[in-house]
């Protein structure tokens, strides 16, 4: 019944986005609009989340293995490179255009909003397009397998 753990984690994450209001694009845009009626709430959300996750992840670092898995899956990449910066820049533009990032977008599917459904389909298409592009580049270079390069 280990599958209950990620289900409950998703539920807690979703409730956190709901209570904080970050599931609403208007709330997020209020934070990003520093030249308008600025709403610092998103900064408080991040600070409160980090106040829990910094000590929590230290605790995980001390354990040999997770409760329901054989090992910790930690991001292997280090060093700031061009793909990281370019990818983050593109993500920020998309985020700023409508105020939706992946978590709130997926959660908002529950409202059956046509706009959210279109956004999520476009987001999935962007992800698939990226992976196809990487695959073709790698194939062209050396035929190596596509490594999963995800930090989070």
């Amino acid at each position: 019944m280990w599958i209950i753990a990620p289900l409950i984690c998703g539920l807690i994450f979703g409730v956190g986005l709901l209570i904080s209001g970050m599931v609403q694009p208007t709330k997020v845009l209020g934070f990003l609009d520093i030249f308008g009626a600025w709403d610092p709430s998103l900064a408080v959300v991040m600070a409160a989340a980090l106040a829990v996750s910094v000590p929590g992840f230290r605790l995980a670092d001390r354990g040999a293995q997770p409760w329901f898995a054989g090992q910790y899956f930690r991001p292997g990449k280090s060093g700031i490179d061009l793909p990281l910066v370019a990818g983050a820049a593109l993500f920020g533009i998309g985020w700023g255009l409508v105020g939706l990032c992946p978590g709130p977008a997926l959660e908002s599917l529950a409202t059956l909003s046509p706009g959210v459904i279109v956004f999520v389909v476009a987001m999935a298409a962007g992800m698939v397009a990226h992976d196809a592009w990487q695959q073709s580049r790698l194939t062209a270079q050396s035929g190596r397998q596509l490594a999963s390069a995800t930090d989070g």
């Binding site: 990620p6 807690i12 520093i34 610092p40 996750s53 409508v98 962007g126 989070g152």
Partner: protein
């Protein structure tokens, strides 16, 4: 700062941090939503169970909240479909290229003191602020 809601923001933030820590302690995974979701789009991937469970929980949250009288309002989105589609494509492509989003880099990565995540978070915050400044104040959207 009339819209500032520090108490609900702090409570929600604690829950998001708690979720990230519990996911790491229980399954050893990073609670990065773009990474969790994109792993479902890869037909060859085998570790799909925990991803489906997490996203199911995420979508169930507003459904359950609605049952106890705290239903979620429909999100307010631009009326222009082209903007919504362009934004979705940018978020999807950008999070894959940059290896994470607000949750993976912004919460989990910074908590692990990853220089990559700190850099990514600064970059996407800056480009998002510029985008909003341009669309809201320069173009007057």
């Amino acid at each position: 700062m009339a819209n500032f809601t520090p108490v609900s923001a702090a409570i929600g933030g604690v829950l998001i941090g708690l979720s990230a820590v519990l996911l790491m302690l229980s399954t050893g995974r990073i609670a990065g939503i773009s990474g969790i979701f994109s792993g479902l789009l890869n037909l060859r991937g085998e570790d799909k169970g925990w991803r489906i469970a997490f996203i199911t929980g995420l979508i169930l949250a507003p459904v359950l909240a609605g049952l106890i009288g705290y239903g979620m309002a429909q999100p307010k989105l631009p009326s222009n479909w082209a903007v919504i589609i362009a934004a979705g494509l940018l978020v999807g492509f950008g999070t894959r290229l940059g290896g994470g989003c607000t949750s993976g880099h912004g919460i989990c990565g910074i908590a692990r003191l990853s220089p990559r995540s700190i850099a990514a978070t600064i970059v996407f915050m800056v480009t998002a602020v510029i985008t909003v400044a341009v669309t809201h104040h320069v173009l007057g959207g």
